[in-house]
Symmetry: C2
Subunit: 368 residues, 2 copies
């Protein structure tokens, strides 16, 4: 019989010690916490009382999870420093509604992001997180990150991404919304249209988009939105309308501003801007202000997302059901956890016309 050295007073009290202190079996103590109906109310009270005086705070969550094979945690994978995730009101709104949906089913959200620290393995968090499921918010197609996620063989929901055989998907009609935006501008007579793109590829981009770079797009929303813009222009009325593409390094107001400034100075004939997010559009508004270009008289600006706050900026934009998307993601995850089959949901988008767009000015380039 092996000895029982069982750390006697090593700070942490265990269920076993409570059992011994009261002279009952461990099962009884366990039942006191997990199945009140399995023992008399009086005994249960005694157990809890002893636990209290001993300073035992209840079953260790970790051991319980290991035993039960369930953690009650869902991981959310974001393919960029979390600081940017939270800087985008639309992303924040999305996360909030996912959290809400899962929380109602007693799941909590674990934020997983690659360490900015270059020497650490960026896949580690995803590989070593104790979760019951994974939600991927913004990952490049065919990336190591995505592979790492899928290789965990957990219930997985992919958001705003290409459909995948091994995971549920929730997304929006990215291209359709983009087409509406471009058509709106074409209908207003614009022909020199700048495009502020979200990140296209993995290596940090930025600035004028070359043909080669455009072929490397790995982010679904970026690819689809651009396709939507292109399709509208290809089929649109002012046959000579053209798109001028720039890529913002990251989805921040500052980068949107810098990017817009660069574009507008390089192409002063530009009379309208298609922005792939409201955050970028916000930056564009600042840029216009800096340059002294009146919006919408001199420059029309369209965003994407209809983020909270965009109404107050009076920004014309493509609306997407951000909160519902989050809710659907939560539901999809719960369905997977419940053993149901995967689904793939595409939600609609709409154009919201506000005050940042107007007809193309008669003499566009006269500011030069």
């Amino acid at each position: 019989m092996p000895p029982k050295p069982a750390a006697p007073s090593s700070g942490r009290i265990t269920l076993r010690e409570v059992a011994r202190a009261l002279g009952v079996s461990v099962a009884t103590v366990s039942n006191a916490y997990n199945r009140p109906d399995q023992l008399s109310a009086a005994l249960r009270e005694q157990v809890l009382e002893t636990a209290r005086t001993l300073g035992y705070g209840g079953p260790d969550p970790l051991a319980r999870s290991l035993r039960r094979g369930r953690t009650g945690v869902i991981g959310v994978v974001y393919d960029a420093p979390l600081e940017y995730a939270f800087a985008d009101p639309a992303a924040a709104q999305f996360l909030g509604s996912v959290a809400q949906a899962l929380q109602d089913a007693s799941y909590n959200l674990l934020l997983l992001a690659s360490p900015a620290d270059t020497q650490a393995d960026p896949l580690l968090p995803v590989q070593s997180a104790s979760v019951d499921g994974l939600i991927v918010y913004s990952a490049a197609q065919n990336s190591d990150l995505l592979r790492a996620v899928l290789s965990r063989n957990l219930p997985t929901v992919l958001v705003d991404q290409d459909q995948h055989a091994q995971a549920a998907g929730v997304g929006i009609d990215d291209a359709g919304g983009a087409t509406l935006a471009a058509q709106h501008l074409l209908g207003l007579g614009h022909t020199h249209i700048g495009v502020l793109c979200l990140e296209l590829g993995l290596r940090q981009g930025g600035g004028r988009v070359t043909h080669e770079r455009e072929r490397q797009i790995v982010y679904h929303p970026t690819a689809e939105r651009l396709r939507g813009y292109r399709e509208a222009v290809a089929a649109g009325t002012p046959a000579h309308a053209q798109l001028f593409l720039t890529e913002a390094g990251r989805n921040t107001i500052a980068d949107g501003e810098a990017c817009a400034l660069e574009l507008l100075q390089a192409e002063p004939q530009t009379t309208a801007l298609l922005c792939m997010s409201d955050v970028l559009a916000h930056g564009a508004l600042r840029a216009a202000h800096t340059l002294g270009w009146a919006v919408p008289q001199r420059l029309s600006i369209i965003g994407y997302d209809d983020a909270p706050g965009s109404a107050d900026l009076n920004l014309t934009t493509v609306w997407q059901p951000t909160s519902e998307k989050g809710r659907r993601v939560g539901q999809a995850m719960l369905a997977l956890l419940g053993g149901e089959a995967q689904v793939d949901v595409r939600l609609p988008t709409r154009l919201i016309v506000r005050g940042s767009t107007a007809a193309r000015p008669a003499t566009p380039a006269q500011h030069l």
Copy 2:
């Protein structure tokens, strides 16, 4: 010798099975993952290879955590539906910078909030989360939630709260900032000043603040900011200046708007508004717009936080170092985890004057 029924093909592959398949010991496999220097590179490659063909995805995170006594997760407790946490840009910014700071040390953030579901125990998430530390973002003093957090006896950081003997604290000079804001208005000659308060007490409040309710304040920032306002008025120059208090149900733009409308209609002599957050101030701006009151000519508005985006609203506000606060919280947590003693940090606040405040109009109440 007990039998070894060890689930043979129950879907999940274990480290032990990999060891057996290759004919090595479990320790060797474990070492292949955790201490590459403890075995030959060749053997290690063999192990990983076998694992790959067997479909073994590496050590189970849960078991590893149990064994190591460390999860790599820090819980963030928020005392309200997470949806509101994310709706406030300042809160989002704060969370982002906490996440960033911890992530650099390979910790991830677990979002903990009470289930909105009324039948579930709101303390359960906090009690049963597998975490190495807890950060409390917005909890009522002396609340069950706070008690539940502290009773876990984990490294704990309290944000924007009264100092506590058992936890580190990070906060700002709430009262000082509020005083600056009120002094600014007094200096501009305002005497009828409305106050849009954040939540005061536990039971849902809202509307005119009674004396009794004011005595029940349980939220540190609310209490301190109000104290700051009061002190400025008590010591300020227009001796007859008065404060009119209203409480917003929650910290949302919509509630701020409703609250401001109610206040302004009840007290039309009001020429200035002190708002306890930029979110509420944002609502106030909308209310002014609705009423047709020009800002700042007819009504001055001051916010609190200097949230991202407030500059574009041209809002005069009290700035706080939100990102640095997050970073400090992360550092404080890391220090606690490293065994260092608790610290208590108070960060400064400043007044940022923009365009939403101006001198009191000569004929204030003439709109009636």
